[in-house]
């Protein structure tokens, strides 16, 4: 009976494999210890009683799902800030490389470059401000015990902030892509060019990581809502 119960609990928690494994071990220890403490010993009735005292597997999984979702939102907030930092490092490295290689842009493109730099700067600093705001917001909230309306509101607000951060960062990376294209225009393929391309790839990867975090948070929120509803 206990193995079946543990199996169903682990199945309910399948959305988070490591949590599922760790909860299964923890609960297994609890249930066998409780059975050992039963006056009737390890009988079918004792196992039944212990499982009944422990509670419905789905209801307990729903409570774990809320804790796991809260953890995921915090991770997404931290990821947003780290991704912005990674983006900044890649951007600065590319600019330093241009300076070291004494690469300059053609006169005809200077006006366009000035405009794109302006967009890039505003978009990037907007992502910094919103990203830090999102992290501060989520870290200042208590981890809820249930998927209550207050937590749903908190999630909506945080998702909005994360999406705004990602959108601003996407604009910044696109602007960087345009600037890099202007810079590399007409140049012969060489090892030096790959440095600029590599730093652009890092920036794109950073945005990709943030989008993956936002998506996984949204999916987890949906699965938690479904688990709580049933």
């Amino acid at each position: 009976m206990i193995p079946d119960y543990l199996e169903s609990l682990a199945r309910e928690l399948d959305f988070d494999r490591s949590l599922s494994r760790c909860v299964r071990e923890e609960v297994e220890d609890h249930l066998w210890e409780a059975v050992a403490a039963e006056p009737s010993g390890n009988t079918r009735q004792a196992q039944q009683r212990v499982i009944a005292n422990f509670g419905d597997a789905r209801a307990i999984a729903a409570q774990f799902a809320v804790v796991s979702l809260a953890q995921r939102t915090r991770r997404a907030g931290i990821a947003a800030v780290l991704v912005i930092a990674g983006d900044l490092v890649a951007m600065k490295a590319r600019v330093a490389w241009y300076a070291a290689a004494r690469w300059d842009i053609s006169d005809g493109m200077r006006a366009l470059r000035g405009l794109v730099i302006l967009i890039d700067r505003y978009a990037f600093w907007m992502s910094v401000i919103i990203g830090l705001g999102a992290l501060a917001y989520i870290l200042s909230r208590e981890i809820p015990a249930a998927f209550c309306p207050a937590f749903r509101r908190q999630l909506r607000c945080f998702s909005l902030l994360c999406s705004a951060t990602a959108a601003a960062l996407v604009v910044s990376v696109i602007s960087d892509g345009v600037l890099t294209a202007l810079q590399l225009q007409g140049m012969e393929p060489s090892v030096e060019i790959w440095v600029a391309i590599f730093t652009m790839a890092v920036e794109i990867a950073c945005v990709g990581i943030l989008l993956v975090h936002i998506r996984s948070m949204t999916l987890r929120a949906a699965s938690t809502a479904a688990l709580v509803k049933t």
């Binding site: 760790c22 220890d29 609890h30 509670g55 409570q63 809320v66 981890i143 015990a145």
Partner: protein, 111 residues
């Protein structure tokens, strides 16, 4: 009522028991409350995980005498502070209710 105070109950049980695994926390709650709190035992575990995530508890895995892996929780400094705060709020609340029901005037707090 009990659900709203679950965190305080778990923190208090852990403060009394020192380091303890989930089963021992539940036993401590039952023992100290005289069996008054009859909540599904499984609800303690999400609470323990939540409190750990909030930095109020720390956990380590050990091996029990039975050979099974066991997760043991300990209060952190943040947890101890949180418990002190919650105890104070509870005391204030309990004094106020005591005053209302029993006619004892709650102690006035200095201005």
């Amino acid at each position: 009522m009990l659900k709203g105070h679950l965190d305080m109950i778990v923190l208090a049980a852990l403060a009394a028991a020192g380091s303890a695994h989930g089963y021992a926390v539940i036993e401590e709650i039952k023992r100290r409350s005289g069996g008054a709190f009859d909540l599904p035992e499984g609800t303690i575990y999400p609470a323990l995980h939540r409190l750990e995530q909030a930095g109020m508890l720390r956990s380590t895995w050990t091996t029990a005498d039975s050979g099974r892996r066991r997760r043991v929780y300990t209060l952190t400094r943040t947890g101890t502070r949180a418990l002190v705060e919650r105890r104070a709020v509870w005391k204030q609340f309990s004094d106020a209710i005591g005053g209302l029901l029993g006619g004892n005037r709650p102690r006035e707090t200095p201005a």
